[in-house]
């Protein structure tokens, strides 16, 4: 259910930006793959290195959720809308800090403007509500980004 004040995830996460990762990459590799994958969306606004540094800076303080979902995120003054990329990792990676196996990770970039912080919190809340273990297990078995995008649209 989309709440009145929420932005639909399906509107900011395009199917082209859903990546199926093979094997069991580490947490850091997953973040790198996601930033690299998302970079074309913001390439005119920020350098790839800056983007990666901003994301990894935030990640020092971030935790994997007990549901097995991971939301690396950063706030960038250079952008004016949300950007997102999703990594689906069927084999999952083990987060050494918590011992949790992560099978889905979504990189979220939010404009660093006071007005957007409320939306940013809403989006984080929405993501953690949506990506429950059952939903993660269902998208892991999907074939492509379009199916995942449709499933997100259907569930939110």
């Amino acid at each position: 259910m989309i709440r009145p004040e929420e932005i639909p995830l399906a509107s900011i996460l395009q199917s082209d930006y859903v990546f199926f990762l093979k094997g069991a990459p580490s947490k850091e590799e997953t973040v790198k793959l996601l930033t690299d994958g998302l970079y074309p969306q913001v390439s005119t606004l920020v350098s790839a290195r800056t983007l990666y540094e901003r994301v990894t800076e935030v990640e020092k303080l971030n935790n994997v959720l007990p549901t097995g979902f991971y939301i690396p995120h950063a706030k960038l003054a250079e952008i004016s809308q949300f950007h997102a990329a999703l990594a689906v990792i069927p084999e999952g990676f083990l987060d050494p800090k918590s011992g949790i196996t992560v099978k889905a990770a979504l990189l979220l970039l939010t404009p660093n403007k006071p007005f957007f912080f409320q939306r940013h919190l809403n989006m984080l809340s929405k993501l953690s509500r949506l990506f429950q273990p059952e939903f993660i297990d269902s998208i892991v078995s999907m074939k492509n980004g379009t199916q995942v995008h449709e499933a997100i649209g259907k569930h939110e």
């Binding site: 259910m1 007990p66 549901t67 097995g68 912080f117 919190l121 809340s125 929405k126 273990p133």
Partner: protein, 668 residues
């Protein structure tokens, strides 16, 4: 597949910390149940000490109680827990604090016997009139009856206190309403009698008995000084203001706005005491012949007043019954207050390590400090039996404790005026400002009166002086030895023992068990972690309406791993520090908090779980120096969403508060 986030499997609720705050009416009634009860015996004792001038002195003592109440208001305005021990400790140091609390214990230990024996004597006097009317010609010597009665009610309240039955301010208020009605009826009837019969003002001449002169009889020159006699008489009447310390004990429970309500309570206590104790004693002297006051009615003055009024005998007997029932309720209430008060004071000093930990052992079933209660109750029973129902004897000794605790308190506040120039929320009037210091001229005058009275009491009251000094010395020695033993033990077992407050906790299997207790329309969740960072709790306490808001103070005990099944543990010293700070802050603002400790693997999940289970309207966090306000809100938002039931769209405000700033957002 990863496991679902664990539910909070253990919740520790701090039952001692769930203070409910009371109105000024109730606070005044708690104090008056102790202080006002002296109306039933102070006049008779004073009459037997120095003759028919007694109403003037009882009245003067009641006027003086107004000044002492102001001293207590200043003390409470400085310290939320501003009893004698705390104030003397601040002003005169640890040793004098131990002496003062020993004198206070003497006061408490004698309040029970004097009140319960007095109640027994009143009941006995009533039975003396009622039984023959019912055709029963069975007489028990009044003093024997009073001793049996006093022992019985002491045993009853001993048991109640062991069981931890809280002293109910509601009950105190009901007793005071009942007593007020009886007192008003007695007063109106007495005024009517005076109108019908006329009256003469009591003489001012003092006629001390040999016993009342004490050692002064060996100093004839002192008897020639008029002012010395005035202070001697004043000292024999000063027991009428026993129970003032209860005001300091009850202040922590007074609701917001605390100082304003404290002042109202003090004014109420003063007016009631002046009219009830001072007024009725005066009317008794105007109506009852002097020989009857000194003899037949010496132990039951107000009962005698009822019987000596104008009107048919059956009506006077009915009024006597009313007076005796109300008086007995008030007097046994004072006995309970003394047990509760003594236990409270001993707990307080035990927290400071001056009473051996053996006394702090909690009752296995009721969680009360039963050894302290046992000690006080046993001393009280011993006093009752040893006194053989002689209320004059106990009354004289009682004045020792009353007077010394008032003297220590006043002297300490004078010293603090010079040692601590922090602004007071309220000050005793008549001050001279010199630099930053308000020189307490008014309080110094009070101190002079107290000092002169103390001096004369030491000389005139042999039993009180000897027993008071002996008791104080014994208690002081107990504190001294306990402190030494505790110090030695602290050196030996530094990691195992701590001198902190023993917090009563209740363990619940799940947060759901606590939810029915949270029944106010609005709920605020305040997570806490650091006792030195409670700015956010302070901001909530400053603004929340206690009537309509449940304030849930939540600490998370972080357990490693994902499964918390069977996780348990006792409250640590850090957690005790934290909750002690929370309780002190809640007391300061006079607002109820619901402190709880949950076992969780992440503090933000515990906030979200408790917040959603309780249906809170706001979550107010303190800022974390480690991660910062925005990251805190992000983590909470994630935890909130992760655990939110689908379809739940109730907006909740999440705030991070720090000095002078706050961030406020909605959780969806």
């Amino acid at each position: 597949m990863n496991p679902q986030p664990s539910r909070l499997k253990q919740v520790l609720v701090l039952s001692t910390a769930m203070l409910s705050f009371i109105s000024f009416w109730k606070a005044a009634s708690v104090v008056l149940c102790d202080m006002g009860s002296s109306a039933f015996y102070a006049g008779g004792i004073a009459m037997n000490a120095f003759g028919p001038a007694f109403p003037w002195y009882v009245l003067a003592v009641m006027v003086f109680s107004g000044l002492m109440l102001m001293v207590y208001v200043e003390s409470c305005a400085m310290f939320v827990r501003g009893g004698v021990y705390r104030v003397v400790n601040e002003a005169m140091g640890h040793s004098m604090a131990k002496v003062s609390v020993s004198a206070l214990m003497f006061d408490y230990v004698l309040t029970g016997p004097i009140s319960s024996i007095s109640a027994g004597l009143y009941v006995s006097s009533l039975l003396y009139n009622l039984l023959p009317a019912a055709g029963i010609h069975w007489q028990v010597p009044p003093k024997l009856f009073a001793v049996i009665f006093a022992v019985a009610v002491t045993l009853y309240f001993w048991r109640e206190n062991i069981k931890g039955v809280e002293e109910s301010s509601d009950k105190n208020l009901k007793i005071m309403i009942f007593v007020s009605v009886a007192g008003a009826l007695l007063m109106v009837w007495a005024l009517l009698t005076v109108y019908l019969r006329g009256f003469r003002l009591p003489p001012l001449e003092l006629r001390f008995t040999r016993e009342a002169l004490g050692w002064v009889e060996h100093f004839p020159w002192l008897q020639t000084i008029g002012l010395a006699g005035v202070f001697m008489a004043f000292g024999h009447s000063v027991l009428a203001i026993g129970g003032l310390e209860t005001l300091a004990q009850v202040y922590r429970e007074v609701e917001d706005p605390k100082i304003k309500n404290l002042k109202k309570a003090a004014a109420l206590i003063f007016v009631f005491s002046l009219v009830f104790t001072g007024g009725l004693t005066f009317l008794a002297s105007a109506i009852i012949p002097g020989d009857l006051i000194a003899g037949k009615y010496a132990d039951n003055l107000l009962s005698g007043l009822a019987l000596e009024l104008a009107g048919p005998y059956w009506a006077r007997l009915a009024l006597q019954s009313f007076v005796v029932v109300s008086g007995s309720l008030m007097l046994v209430g004072a006995l309970n207050t003394s047990l509760v008060g003594a236990n409270g004071v001993l707990n307080r000093v035990a927290e400071d390590g001056i009473l051996h930990d053996w006394f702090r052992h909690l009752h296995g079933k009721y969680g009360t400090t039963y050894r302290m209660i046992n000690m006080v109750a046993l001393i009280q029973i011993a006093v009752i039996i040893l006194s053989r129902g002689d209320i004059y004897l106990i009354g004289e000794a009682y004045a020792f404790g009353v007077l010394w605790s008032l003297t220590f308190k006043t002297l300490s506040l004078i010293i603090l005026r010079f040692r601590d120039d922090m602004p007071r929320d309220w000050m005793f009037p008549f001050n001279l400002k010199i630099g930053k210091t308000y020189v307490p001229i008014g309080m110094c005058v009070v101190m002079v009166v107290l000092a002169c009275t103390v001096l004369m009491n030491l000389l005139t009251k042999r039993v009180a002086t000897v027993s008071g000094i002996a008791f104080t010395a014994v208690f002081f020695s107990v504190f001294q030895i306990s402190e030494g033993l505790n110090r030695k033990k602290a050196r030996l077992y530094v990691e195992e023992e701590d001198p902190e407050e023993k917090l009563n906790t209740r363990r619940e299997a799940d947060i759901g068990a606590i939810l029915p207790e949270l029944n106010k329309p609005r709920k605020i969740l305040v997570p806490v972690r650091n006792p030195n960072n409670l700015v956010h709790l302070k901001s909530v306490l400053e603004t929340a309406d206690d009537e309509s808001t449940d304030i849930i103070v939540l600490a998370a005990k972080i357990a490693k791993g994902m499964q918390l099944e069977g996780e348990s543990g006792d409250i640590t010293s850090d957690e005790k520090d934290l909750f002690s700070s929370v309780v002190l802050l809640a007391e300061k603002y006079g607002k109820t908090v619901r402190p709880m400790l949950v076992f969780s693997n992440d503090p933000f999940y515990s906030m979200a779980q408790v917040g959603q289970a309780a249906g809170v309207d706001e979550i107010v966090m303190g800022v974390s120096g480690a991660v910062g306000a925005e990251v805190q809100l992000e983590r909470l938002a994630m935890a909130w969403g992760m655990q939110e039931k689908s379809g739940s769209v109730r907006p909740v405000t999440a705030k991070v508060v720090w000095e002078g700033r706050q961030l406020s957002y909605k959780l969806s």
